[in-house]
Amino acid sequence: MTVAAGIGYALIALGPSLSLFVAVISKKPFLILTVLSSTLLWLISLIVLSGIWRAFLPLKSTTWWPFALLIISSVGFQEGLRVLFWKVYKRLEDTLDAFADRVGKPRLFLTDKMQIALAGGLGHGVAHAVFFCLSLLTPAFGPATFYVDRCPQMPFFLISAIIALAFVTIHTFSMVIAFNGYAEGNTTDQYFVPVVHLVAGMVTLVNFASGGCVVGIPLLYILASLILLHCGKMVWRRLTAS
């Protein structure tokens, strides 16, 4: 609608992550590198997925089950990559610990590990926000706006920004939960994250129905707050226990 509106939409999607970045991540160069590499990983996963699905696009937007298939496959692939990310992180952790020993500094603290997990999650979240929301925002800087048929209550840009915000939260904190789950061997946590991710993806299918976004978006935010609560509880437990 104008530059102001465009910037507004961008900040809705990325505001919290920006504050997180400035407050926590920008102080430690290694975390910035972690954010960049996890964003890259997410981008690569997206490219691979689009490569696989390219032959079937564009999907007819009347039936919903091809989209369901798309989402299930995409979420599955990304969760698989999360396990891979964890394995790489494990080796990196060993390297860092060895380095710390060599230099005579203490090994990685628990908070350090959590910060690395947070940075990884933030990378995923920011990648999601950029590719699913920001990249389509260029017309929003112009003089007009755009409404989607299925959800005529709000401009399309606003909807995508709000959904992106929910997903950024989900991605960021589920990485913390997942890493903690893998570290502790806590299977509940290990399965919690992929399940929530899948459910969140499926919930956006509700947007398919006409007027569905009125139901879909609050559901998404319930999931996001669930993840937040769970992460908070887990972190509190671990920090007070040690």
Binding site: L33, L57, V75, T95, A100, V103, F131, L136
Partner: protein, 450 residues
Amino acid sequence: MESSILDSIGSEIIGVMTPVSLCMLLVVLLVYSLSPSEQSLSGASDPFRTAANLVYLERPDDSSTQKLEGAVLNALVFVILIAIVTFLLVLLYYYNFTNFLKNYVRFSAFFVLGTMGGSIFLSIIQQFSIPVDAFTCFVLLFNFTIVGVLSLFSGGIPILLRQAYMVCMGIIMAAWFTKLPEWTTWALLLALALYDLFAVLAPGGPLKLLVELASSRDEELPALVYEARPTVSENERNRRSGLRFLLGGVSDSGSVELQVVSRDNADGRENHGNPEYSAVNVGTFGNEMHERSSDEVERLPLVGHLRDGFSSSGSSSDRSTSVNRENEIVMEEEMSPLVDMSLLGNNRQRASDSLENSLITDRGIRLGLGDFIFYSVLVGRAAMYDLMTVYACYLAIISGLGCTLILLSVCRRALPALPISITLGVLFYFLTRLLMEPFVVGTTTNLLMF
């Protein structure tokens, strides 16, 4: 609580990636804000002929094969031109015409900042209808240019200013290059990446000769090189004022030192072909060869390689641990700061003749200005298509740069910084444009996200 290693690992890599990212961001902004006006101007007129356009002038209505052939020819001619100029540079340097080179670089910096920077400022003023009169504009531009030329080679200029001017020159050159037609740009980028690979690594390559000459004479390279010296104390980041006091006069607070050496920046148009290379950096001490073990620790962010005391005069250098961090040195040995200061201040001092040591004294990573420029050209060209491609290319280039830096810490010699990043960037651009965009746009317009 003791500081953990996470506080300071990776600061050198970030010290190089930040100016590169800043340069790319500003070029993208420039392209976005200036492009509407460009289209209206160049729509009807002929594209102007430059060194990159010598053979073939691309027009929108040519066929694809014509464009491809023309672009490849253009790129070839450009690369040959660059190679000739680089060989000329090596020759001049060999015969000790260093002063001539320095003055020539000063002239070319003046030219770039004044005329090309001036035309960009004029387009910005035009685009945003900024009310400023011609006389003020001229005075401001003149001041800007003169300070820029002064900041390049004189001592006593704040490092931040020097860095800022380097980034400015990179932005101006990249903004100019983005005016080239599309096929020519891509062909040019790929050709330059290949050329860079050969020029730096092949035995007869001009840049390799240049580096060897410079290191054998123990001089700085005659080139415009962005040098990100690490801060004396990483603790400055953590704001420990005590240490700042200790290391007071050595380096400017917080930021990275910069030393730009003269370089042949031929004519704004044709050069930048000396696509630079990450020069050598990262020296570790002779006795710390074991750093080079197979584990990847040391390759980690080029951490303490720098700064190791070449002070075989005791103080900080030798410790049982291989990598010394400056802050450790400072904290744990009182006398070291003084020794460090003298050594830091005098970066031309060479402890010994070995190449190893000359590597040590060149602390900090050096990245040539040509690299800045071509990364930004790639991202600028991606910006002309879509924001998604911008982000994808940005990530590709940064990861390529990261890979190159890691390789640098492994190989310890001058490496070309262009090939990996440009290849990844071009790859990701076309993958994103062809594969990812239909996918993502298809799902988001249906409000389906994951």
